[in-house]
Every structure is written in structure tokens, then in C-alpha cells.
């Protein structure tokens, strides 16, 4: 068998638009977004899955884009912070972060917001978390400890956690 090629051509739908990419297989989804599609909202914090700054939605589910190879996202749909809302029609979670001052430097914020949008969706689908007393229960009661646990994959170096919690609580009401 011939050796597979070291780069690939493929299509990924990003924020609703199909994008044809021709990339070295080593390119992560995060680098594809930032370096090749000029979508610099998703941030590179650690590049090792340890901080959540790179969080985007892949087929509607939050993932660390720094650990996803772009080539492995072929045929799939990606939503970044740029695709969640527009300047005059913010996503409710974006608006809540502003209303509750859920940020300081803002570096972790795109990841926090994408993560929160997906976390709230997981709650709607009845997914339990490590803070859920009875994993067998069908309905989740979203309290502070549930939100903290569900958002633990997003670190904030500025420590804006208190206001991030308030913002997410406000949307969940």
C-alpha cells in the first residue's frame, strides 16, 4: 500500500459556511480556525486540553479544539464564538456575561461562553454531572455546585468565576 499523504483536502462547515481546507494533517482545529480562517475568537491557552480557552462546538457539542485534528473534523459542523451571536444580536449567554461582568482580561471568555452554551444544553437533555446526587434521576436541578462542576473544564486566570457563575445562573433562570 502506498503511504498516505501527509496533508489532506476536506470541507468543514464553520459557523454555517462550508470551508474547503487543504492542510498539513498535523494542523489542529484550533490552528485551522485561527491561522487559516481568521477566526481568532477561540484562544490558545495551554494547547493540551487543560484550560478550555479553545472551546468550540463540534456538531453542537463543546470540545477542546486544540486536541481535535482539523482533518478529523471533516464533514462536520463547527460553531465558534463568532457564530454564536452578532454585535447587535448577542447570544443570551454573551449578554449575560456583559450584564454580570463575567470577565476581566477576556482571554478565557470565548471558551467560557461556548462551554456554557453547551453545558446548558446538556442540562436540558438531562445529562448528569459529578455534582448530581443521583445519576439515575431523570431531571437535573441546576444549582451553583452543578454549574461549577459543569464549567470546571474552563479555567480563568483572572478568577472571574463568581461573576461567570452569576451570568450562567441568570441565563438558566
Amino acid at each position: 500500500m502506498t503511504r498516505s499523504s501527509l496533508s489532506s483536502s476536506f470541507t468543514v462547515t464553520v459557523n454555517g459556511e462550508p470551508q474547503l481546507l487543504d492542510l498539513d494533517n498535523r494542523t489542529t482545529l484550533l490552528d485551522a480556525l485561527r491561522e487559516h480562517l481568521d477566526l481568532t475568537g477561540a484562544k490558545k491557552g495551554c494547547d493540551h486540553g487543560q484550560c478550555g480557552a479553545c472551546t468550540v462546538l463540534l456538531d453542537g457539542r463543546r470540545v477542546n479544539s486544540c486536541l481535535v485534528l482539523a482533518v478529523a473534523a471533516q464533514g462536520r459542523s463547527v460553531t465558534t464564538i463568532e457564530g454564536l451571536g452578532t454585535a447587535d444580536r448577542l447570544h443570551p449567554v454573551q449578554q449575560a456575561f456583559i450584564d454580570h461582568d463575567g470577565l476581566q482580561c477576556g482571554y478565557c471568555t470565548p471558551g467560557q461562553i461556548c462551554s456554557a452554551v453547551s453545558a446548558l444544553d446538556e442540562v436540558d437533555r438531562g445529562w448528569p454531572s459529578a455534582a448530581t446526587a443521583d445519576v439515575g434521576a431523570e431531571k437535573i436541578t441546576l444549582d451553583d455546585s452543578e454549574i461549577r462542576e459543569r464549567m470546571s473544564g474552563n479555567l480563568c486566570r483572572c478568577g472571574a468565576y463568581v461573576n461567570i457563575l452569576a451570568a450562567i445562573n441568570a441565563v438558566a433562570q
Binding site: 494533517n25 463543546r62 453547551s118 462542576e149
Partner: protein, 329 residues
């Protein structure tokens, strides 16, 4: 990072056959461990075979009242599955105790069982490490080993297996289904991972290149009351320093049956068979739980910086068994 080819496959036969065409190919699940290790230079495959599109994405109920979990089932889907949550709650709890929501959306069942140790010398290519470079030495023994093994280690390697999921699975008699070449084989999880001995680079008992196709759990009434408890250095998003999955069946004040497994104490998810044997038939009481834990820990060989784990795992075991049986401490 070394350049590599990438291939998607849609059936198990092609996956295994494609891997065999290269001396240095790897299966790619969610990539949450493999891509990380490739960035660090620890893994240098020339070909990645993406196995997430294989028809192994379902959780199905089996004839014996158990379940078969496909190897490509994502960790988050496993933890959200109603059958798993009701009949094997420790499995759902173990998954949810690991990593983060984002990582669990990517990580697969097969990849989770195959994830490598978090030993800091293993992940640092500037350091010697018998697991990464056989024969180069083990700096952990005299160095940083506060989260390494107290059971089943060897002079060659004291690494721990970091998987939370594997601990719950091994407690509940899980069987790993693998494809080796043309043949399919079922291996109890208790026998799937290897202790290091003098070959810490060999981590499983299956052939190199074997593809995990799924993991089955038998119909097991005791599992419905199983629980997972994890101790870590921060409240969430951290690996265990000790963990336990357990289930107890009580009859007439005596332990009729039990399942106990420990995590973060050995290179394998540690089924505590000595503790189980000690506990069966004993009165439901703190003394019995402590004696059971002590029986298992007779074999412990703690080092200078991980000796705390002996008391920790003992206490966590007593606490969880007490909780499961309603005994107050």
C-alpha cells in the same frame, strides 16, 4: 511533531488491516491523549487510523441482561445513557468524575481504556523512562512519584493507570472485546492490562495492533447499587490520587456479595480480590471494612512520597463501604 498520514475507516476489518500495513500506525479515537502525546513528541506515528466512524457507537442490551458498549461511544454519551445510569451507576459516576465536559465529548471508550500514564517522566522526552525508552531507567523511583503506584509496581516502573472509567468497569466484571488480525477475542478487563514487571513498555495482554471493538458488562443485580468515589487534589478536572468503585449486597446483617476496585494505585485498574474475599460473609461493620482493606494492602509497597496513599485508599474504602451499607462511622 512528526508528519503523519490520516485515514478514516468504516469497518473493523479494514481498520485492523490498515494498521498492519505500517510499522508505526496508531488508532485515533477522540485524540485527547494521543494528539497531546504527539505534541509532546512521546508518540510519533506515521499513520493515524481514525476509528471514530466505525459502527461501534452504540450501547446495546445483551441477552444475559448486560450491555455492550461500542469502542467508539463517547464518554459523555456513556455517562448519559439511561441503562448505564440505572443499572451500573458507578460507571456513569466514574466517567463524570474524569476530565471535563469538553474532553468527555471527544474521548471514546476504547481510547479511555488505552490512555497512557500521566507519570511526568513518561511525558517528558528529555528524561529517561523505561516505559517510553526500554532500558533507559526509571527516574520516578527516586524522584517525583507522589501520585504513582503502591501496588503491583516493579523496580522498572511504578506508573499508574489514570483511567477512572476502567476502575468502575473492572469492579463490575467487564469484558474487553478485541479484534486481533482476523480473529475476535473477549478478555476480562482484570486480565487486559499488564503489570509492568521487566517490560513496562508492554501495557496490555493483547497483540500490538489489536483493535478494541467494545466492552461488555454482564447482567449484574449488585451493580445497580454500585458507587464510585474519587479523591483528587482539586475539586474537579484533575486526575485521581485514589479512587474506588464498590458494590455490596447485604443479607441478614452479613455481606452476601461485594465488588471492590481501586484506581490510581497501580498500573492496572486494581480489582481488590483479597479485600472482597475477606469481606464476604462478614458482619456489616466498620471493623470488617477496615480488615478487608488491610488484607488487600498487605501487598502494598509504598515509597517515600506516596506512602500517604496507603492510609488514603484504606480510609476511602471504609467510608464508601459504610455509606453503601448504611453503617455510621
Amino acid at each position: 511533531m512528526r508528519e503523519f498520514g490520516y485515514q478514516q475507516v468504516s469497518d473493523v476489518e479494514t481498520a485492523v488491516a490498515t494498521l498492519a500495513t505500517s510499522a508505526d500506525a496508531r488508532y485515533l479515537g477522540g485524540g485527547t491523549n494521543l494528539v497531546d502525546l504527539m505534541k509532546l513528541g512521546v508518540e510519533t506515528p506515521e499513520l493515524l487510523i481514525d476509528v471514530t466512524n466505525l459502527p461501534l457507537t452504540d450501547i446495546t442490551e445483551t441477552a444475559d441482561g448486560g450491555v455492550l458498549i461500542g469502542a467508539a461511544v463517547r464518554n459523555s454519551d456513556l455517562a448519559a445513557n439511561p441503562v448505564i445510569r440505572q443499572r451500573y451507576p458507578a460507571v456513569a459516576q466514574a466517567v463524570l468524575a474524569g476530565a471535563s465536559g469538553q474532553l468527555r465529548n471527544l474521548a471514546t471508550t476504547g481510547g479511555n481504556l488505552m490512555q497512557r500514564t500521566r507519570c511526568s517522566y513518561f511525558t517528558d522526552v528529555s528524561k529517561p523512562c523505561n516505559k517510553r525508552v526500554p532500558g533507559s531507567g526509571c527516574p520516578a523511583r527516586d524522584g517525583e512519584h507522589h501520585n504513582l503506584a503502591i501496588l503491583g509496581a516493579s523496580e522498572h516502573c511504578i506508573a499508574t493507570s489514570p483511567s477512572d472509567l476502567a476502575v468502575a468497569l473492572v469492579a463490575l466484571d467487564a469484558v474487553v472485546h478485541v479484534r486481533e488480525g482476523d480473529s475476535a477475542r473477549a478478555v476480562p478487563l482484570t486480565e487486559f492490562r499488564r503489570l509492568p514487571g521487566d517490560r513496562p513498555d508492554l501495557e496490555t495482554t493483547v497483540e500490538p495492533g489489536a483493535l478494541i471493538t467494545g466492552v461488555s458488562l454482564p447482567g449484574l443485580p449488585i451493580a445497580a447499587a454500585s458507587r464510585y468515589r474519587k479523591v483528587r487534589e482539586r475539586a474537579s478536572y484533575a486526575f485521581a490520587i485514589a479512587s474506588i468503585a464498590a458494590a455490596v449486597e447485604v443479607s441478614g446483617g452479613l455481606v452476601a456479595d461485594c465488588r471492590i476496585a481501586w484506581g490510581a494505585v497501580a498500573a492496572v485498574p486494581w480489582r481488590a480480590t483479597r479485600a472482597e474475599a475477606m469481606l464476604r460473609g462478614k458482619p456489616v461493620a466498620i471493623e470488617s471494612f477496615a480488615a478487608a482493606a488491610d488484607a488487600e494492602l498487605l501487598a502494598a509497597e509504598p515509597l517515600e512520597h506516596n506512602a500517604y496513599k496507603v492510609a488514603l485508599i484504606r480510609n476511602v474504602t471504609v467510608e464508601l463501604l459504610a455509606e453503601l451499607t448504611g453503617v455510621s462511622r
